[in-house]
Amino acid sequence: MQPVLDSIALLGRSGLDKVAAIGRSGMILAHAIVARPDPVQSFPLLIRQLYSVGVQSMIIIIVSGLFIGMVLALQGYTLLVDYGTEQAVGQMVALSLVRELAPVVAALLFAGRAGSALTAEIGLMKTTEQLSSMEMIGVDPLRRIIAPRFWAGFISLPILTMIFSAVGIWGGMLVGVEWLGIYEGSFWANMQNSVDFFDDVVNGLIKAQVFGLVVTWVAVFQGYDSIPTSEGISQATTKTVVYSSLAILGLDFIMTALMFGDF
């Protein structure tokens, strides 16, 4: 009888642990958003985080954006040339990048490149007891460590997404116009006729903003809540990438249904 009861108790305890973890993550989010200390002191911290989160992710975003745009144009061309509508390549590349691929792929790359680094950094700070020594000397680690990182991720991802789209479209033009010989005028005209600034570009940016919130939230929380051992840090880093990737793909479906679905 006892083992059965034990296993039931274990189940309940792990469920309660999960709920408590969600609660802690919510508290961290609230803290990070509310904690806006004097701008003179926190602005340099934010700049430094923007550099390590945003600027250092730029290379991977630019390179992958370029290749994804080029592949889209190549695939679109081989499909559309059968119907004699290869001018629509520009429209296809632009719409699929701006609406879907740029927000999603940039967010996935961002989770792998910047999210995991954030988790590992904060986790190591916790393991080496830097966070608790900060508390000892009266510095709130949530303000000093968490808030600037959170805001840096929140600001960076939409910017990275815009760079991804622009570079991807340029890559598509490189393949379509320069290499495959689509007439440049119809390439751009088709694109401009079909892409609407508010319906497509702005909705894509709203997606990127939501992903930025979710990815940095998950990353910062996993780091702050990690078990302070080397194993714990590696687990937390894995969790960051897995959870934020799943959240990105799931939220993308919901937001696409809300934004572009006809109901």
């Binding site: 700049i47 730029m58 119907y83 632009a94 960076s156 910017i159 815009m162 479209i169 892409v195 600034f197």
Partner: protein, 152 residues
């Protein structure tokens, strides 16, 4: 100074982001700064709008002069009402103008082509285009063709 390089990097990052947004806005989506100043709406009744959607182009002699803003059914006359938003500077459409739903290219998108008439009075806000020609539905066309062949 180390911090200087960081600041420069972040500045470049922000500028590249702003530049990308500008490219997306003006080059990719063709956003005009003064797009619709004082545009006005007219209506047209069609038997069948097959394939026409909101944001479709409205053109005259191939030049875009407005766009479709809404399509719904008139419950009394049981026909499709197309709400057309014309640019403010279009003040030469006579009340006997005709509107027809056309297709750009063989498989392209649908748009409304407008031809003016000879009346002196021009269309105003809320006016109706009476003379309309519905969308060409391929199935009906084939059906008619088959029917004619069978009766011969």
């Amino acid at each position: 100074m180390r911090i200087r390089g960081v600041e420069l990097g972040v500045g470049i990052f922000m500028l590249v982001g702003a530049f990308s947004l500008a490219v997306l806005a003006f080059n990719v989506s063709g956003l005009g700064l003064s797009k619709q100043e004082g545009s006005y709406k007219v209506y047209a009744l069609f038997e069948n709008v097959g394939g026409l959607t909101a944001r479709s182009k409205v053109s005259m002699s191939g030049v875009t002069i407005g766009q479709v803003s809404d399509i719904h059914i008139d419950p009394e006359r049981l026909m499709a009402v197309v709400e057309i938003e014309l640019n403010g500077d279009v003040d030469y459409l006579t009340v006997d103008s005709s509107a027809s739903i056309l297709t750009s290219g063989l498989l392209g998108e649908k748009y409304i082509g407008i031809t003016t008439g000879a009346d002196d009075e021009v269309l105003k806000e809320g006016g109706y285009i009476e003379d309309t020609q519905s969308s060409l539905v391929l199935e009906e066309l084939i059906g008619k063709f088959l029917f004619n062949n069978a009766s011969e």
